[in-house]
Every structure is written in C-alpha cells, then in structure tokens.
C-alpha cells in the first residue's frame, strides 16, 4: 500500500533528494523543507520505493500537504 508522505510544517521545498522509482532506505532523507531559515528533513519511515513526487524545489507547501508517495517494502 503506497503511503502518503506529508509536510510537517508550512514552508518551502528546499531540496528533493529522491526521484520516482528510486529505492530508499529507512532514515534516508527524501525531501528537505525550509522554514524559519532551518532545513527540515523529511525522512523515510521504512525501506521502500518512491512512487510519485508531488512537489518541485522552490514550491511553497503547507503543513499536511502530500509531498510524495512511497511504497513500503
């Protein structure tokens, strides 16, 4: 079951570290958000495969917004 990975804060997408189809390991950085001059990493909660990325670098995002979909192994 693909899992929605959501933004934990309101801010901007600073860096996208993964692409659709990529394998990720537990704890790996998926996306780095920026808010209040701090970089806030969104990390993989399980091993899995990135299905879709729903944002671009520089996008403004709000808390709770879906950033990407990951299919856990």
């Amino acid at each position: 079951m693909p899992r929605e990975i959501r933004s934990v804060v309101t801010g901007t997408v600073y860096q996208i570290e993964v692409a659709a189809g990529e394998q990720v390991k537990l704890g790996a950085d998926l996306i780095i958000l920026e808010s209040m001059k701090m970089e806030i990493p969104i990390v993989a909660e399980t091993d899995g495969t990135v299905i879709e990325v729903h944002c671009n670098e520089g996008d403004s995002v709000i808390e709770g917004q879906v950033l990407l979909m990951v299919d856990p192994d």
Binding site: S35, M36, M38, E39, P41
Partner: protein, 512 residues
C-alpha cells in the same frame, strides 16, 4: 446445635438491610440494562465500568450512592454522580465521575451537594483527584424547585489547584458547568468522541442563531490544536491507562529503575549542518526510561515540547525547544505552554530538565500583536519563582532572551551543561553583525559579496562562542558527551535533597 434454618436466619439480611441492599443494587450496572444499551449506541462504557477498570478492586469507598434527584419526578441512580475514595496501583485517590446515562450527566441540586461535600474531603485528605467530566452542565428540569441554588463545586475545585494533582477525562459531550470543572483540572485527557465547550448548542442557538451539534462546536481535534486538552487518546480504555500513568509522575521515585534507552544515538541526533533541524523528542527518548515519556499538549505551540518522563524511575518534567517548528523560536503559545508546565512541576516538586536549542523569542509584527511582551514574561515569572530544582542542557543554539528563559545561569540551575554543538549569543550572530558592522557592510554594494562578509563575521562570533570557549570562560559547568546525558541527569537527580513532607499548597497552577 443450630439447625440449617437457624444459620439462614442469622445470615440472611433482615428487612431493613434488605431494603438498603436493594436500593444500592438499583444503582449498579447489572440492573441497568437499558442504560448500558444506550451507552453502547455511542460506543461508551458506563461510568462504573470506568471506575472498576481504574480503581483497585475492593478499594472504592463510595459517597452518596443512595442519593436521588431532588425533583421527585426524575429517576437517577446516585443522582448522576459517582464519587468516592480508592486506590490506583496502590496509591490513594479521590474519584468523581458524572454518569451520562442520568439526564446527560447534568449537574443537579443533590449532585452539587455531593460534589461540594466530596471536594471538601479531597481537600482535607489531600487526595489526588480524578474527574470524569462528561455531562451537559446544569440540569434544567430542576429550575422550578424551590432551592437557594447554592453550590460551591466550582470554587472548591479551584481551591485544589496546586494542592493536589487533578486530572480530568472527557470522553463524550461535556459542556458548561461540566466543562468548567474539566478546565479547572491541571491536566485534561480526551478521546476523539469528546465534544467540549463552555456554552452548549442550545445557548449558542439562543444567543447567536447558530445551529450546531456538540461535535461541530467543540471537537476533540480542535481542542488538541488550541491547547485546551493536554493528551488525546484513542478511547476510554486508553484514557484510563493514561490517568494511571499520569498519576505515577506525582509520587516521587518509584524505586524501579526502568529500562535504559539507546543513548548512543544522541551523539548524532544534532546534525553537523547547523541549519538542519531535528526532532528533539529523539533527545528526550535517549535520556528517559523507555516508554516513560508522556508529552503534554503535543499539537499546541509545537516549537516547544513539554513532557513528563522518568529517569531511573524518578519523575522529571522536560521542557525542550523543538527545532522542527519555528526553528525552536518561542512565540506566545509556546510561552504559555512552558509557563504552565513549570508551575505544574513546581507545585508538585517534580525536578525539571531543560533542553535548550532556540534562536530566541519569535520576531515580527504578527507575534508582537499577540502580546508576546507579556506572554514571554510568564515563563520567567514562573521559572524564577519556582523552587523545584532543575538542570539545563544546551543542545545547540542558546540565543537571546529565549535561552535566558530556557534555564540559563541567571535562573540558577543546579547544573548547566552543554553538548559539543552548543553555541551562545546574547542575540543571533547574523543580526548582531548587521548592527556592529553596519558601515562596513553597507559599503559593499554587491549583494552576494555583502552576504558572504556577513556570514564571515557571524562565523567569527560563532567560533568565539562554542561549547569549549564557553567552558573556558566558565559559563558552563561542563561540556558532555551527548551519549552521557542520561547519566548526567541521573547524577543531578542523586544530588537533590530529600523532599520535606508537604502539609499544604506551595503554589497554584495557571489553567492556561
């Protein structure tokens, strides 16, 4: 020689006792199948089921089980309020719970009298109080009864502030007088079925012309976000477990050391990149006994974390900045959250642990418009007037008045240590160099070059204010290996004097 008949005569209740037993039996769940069925429709337990799951078997001494509604046309076992003393995990408590199956848990002439009497008992015996608050406020059917309408319940409840721990549960609809009692509790636990508010739907409709269900008016999630409730749990069973756990923090060291967490992870939890955020809850988990952390108000004012925890079985109140939100800056809600938590710990002599990583107080016109000048002062007022001992760990940033309010030296911590990543400043370095090197920086016309120079100057300041630099000037008692933080906290706890037995109130606890 006695005949079999003779024994029966001696042991069987006489008519007078039989009448009492029958009246008591009428109040019990097994004789109230219709009420049970009604509760089942909304997925709730009976109040007596909650009591039997929370209070140790055989320990409940009920008060007023035989009370009846003053309005004789109404039926109502115990007049809709079940109260008594008992023990939870062997420790004494007072329990007071409204019975929602009796006229929607409303407050009546007789059950107010019961509450008044019982809260006096709770006060005089200094019993920790558990309140199950669900109910609809005043019972309107009793408006026509000739009474003085005099009750002390709310005043009595407020008098308990700081004297004894008070914990409330809301698992359904809870409005007006019932909500007032909930709001007077130190800590409030709720389930997703909670609907809480001071003015219920009939009042809202009469005053504002708005038609709302209780759940639309005061849903649990809203109260979790705005800070009115402290812990949101899945259901009544979890609420009971949470009450049991909560009470444990108010009994001092339990003599059970608890299981050690993985402390080695603390060496890497603060990222090397100073701009990178991390979840400070991982730091707390690396210090506290496993599964001992109870975070209060987790969805409210999220730039700070307030949590009750145990370290080697000793209760500790943890106050931490959360770099994941607002970079750990302290705004007005965060100020209120910290100030109330300090008061809670101080009132009940729970030692505190500050984990500091803050760029300071939040800045900007929006936050100033929230009266940050006043709200932020509450932290300092609460902290400096508290006598419960505390220690402070500077995890990373310690800037400005924000760090001052996070357990800095002028507040006289019993112990002040830093991690190797600690950095200090009276204000943020970037902001400071803009003032101190104003002319030099303004002379640089190229924007990028100016930024580079700004950063250089800020880094020079930063290099002077590292953990080692601070320890060299003896502004820190020690710089520690992050993996040794738990051991350091244990040594702090061991250094504390024994508590004098309490005979009265030390301070009250602000309800906000």
């Amino acid at each position: 020689m006695s005949s079999k008949k003779g024994i029966q005569d001696k042991t069987a209740p006489r008519a007078d006792l039989a009448e009492v037993l029958a009246a008591k039996a009428q109040t019990l769940d097994e004789n109230r199948p219709e009420a049970i069925a009604k509760r089942a429709v909304t997925g709730h337990q009976m109040i007596r089921q909650n009591i039997s799951q929370l209070i140790d078997p055989g320990s409940f001494q009920e008060y007023g089980q035989l009370a009846e509604p003053a309005f004789k046309n109404l039926q109502g076992p115990a007049d809709g309020l079940v109260i008594g003393t008992g023990t939870v995990s062997g420790f004494r408590v007072g329990f007071m719970g409204y019975d929602y199956t009796v006229h929607a848990g409303t407050q009546s002439i007789i059950n107010h009298a019961k509450a008044d009497r019982f809260l006096q008992v709770v006060e005089s015996l200094r019993l920790p109080l558990v309140l199950w608050a669900d109910g609809g406020g005043w019972r309107p059917y009793e408006n026509n009864i000739n009474s003085r309408d005099y009750e002390e319940t709310f005043a009595m409840m407020a008098r308990l502030s700081g004297l004894v721990p008070t914990v409330g549960v809301v698992s359904g609809r809870c409005f007006a007088g019932n909500a007032n009692l909930a709001g007077l509790c130190d800590t409030l636990i709720a389930t997703p079925k909670a609907a809480l508010g001071m003015g219920g739907p009939p009042l809202v409709e009469a005053a504002l012309g708005l038609t709302l269900t209780p759940e639309e008016l005061g849903p649990a999630q809203m109260h979790e976000a705005c800070g009115a409730i402290d812990v949101l749990v899945a259901d009544e069973h979890e609420a009971i477990d949470c009450v049991r756990r909560y009470l444990e923090y108010f009994r001092g060291a339990d003599g059970q050391p608890g299981s050690d967490p993985d402390t080695s992870a603390l060496r890497t939890v603060v990222p090397e990149n100073p701009r990178r955020a991390y979840d400070v809850r991982r730091v707390i988990e690396g210090i506290a006994d496993q599964d001992s952390v109870l975070e209060l108000r987790p969805k409210f004012a999220r730039s700070v974390v307030t949590a009750l925890a145990k370290v080697q079985g000793t209760p500790v109140g943890v106050l931490a900045n959360q770099p994941m939100y607002l970079a750990g800056a302290i705004d007005s809600p965060a100020s209120d959250k910290l100030a109330r938590f300090i008061q809670l710990c101080d009132a009940h002599d729970i030692p505190m642990l500050y984990l500091c990583d803050t760029p300071g107080l939040m800045v900007g016109p929006e936050v100033e418009a929230t009266a940050l000048v006043r709200h932020s002062s509450r932290i300092l007022n609460a902290a400096i007037n508290a006598t419960t001992p505390f220690m402070t760990v500077i995890l990373r940033k310690a800037y400005g008045l924000g760090q001052y309010m996070m357990g800095a030296l002028p507040l006289r911590p019993a112990l002040l240590v830093g991690w190797p990543t600690a950095e200090f400043g009276a204000m943020g370095f970037e902001g400071a160099v803009k003032i101190t090197h104003k002319k030099e920086l303004e002379a640089i016309t190229d924007k990028k070059a100016r930024q580079v120079r700004e950063r250089e100057l800020a880094d020079e300041l930063r290099a002077h204010n590292t953990a080692l630099g601070l320890a060299g000037r003896y502004e820190l008692d020690d710089v520690i290996d992050p993996a040794d933080t738990r051991e350091t906290v244990i040594r702090f706890l061991v250094s504390l004097p024994p508590l004098a037995p309490r005979t009265g109130r030390k301070r009250t606890i602000d309800n906000w």
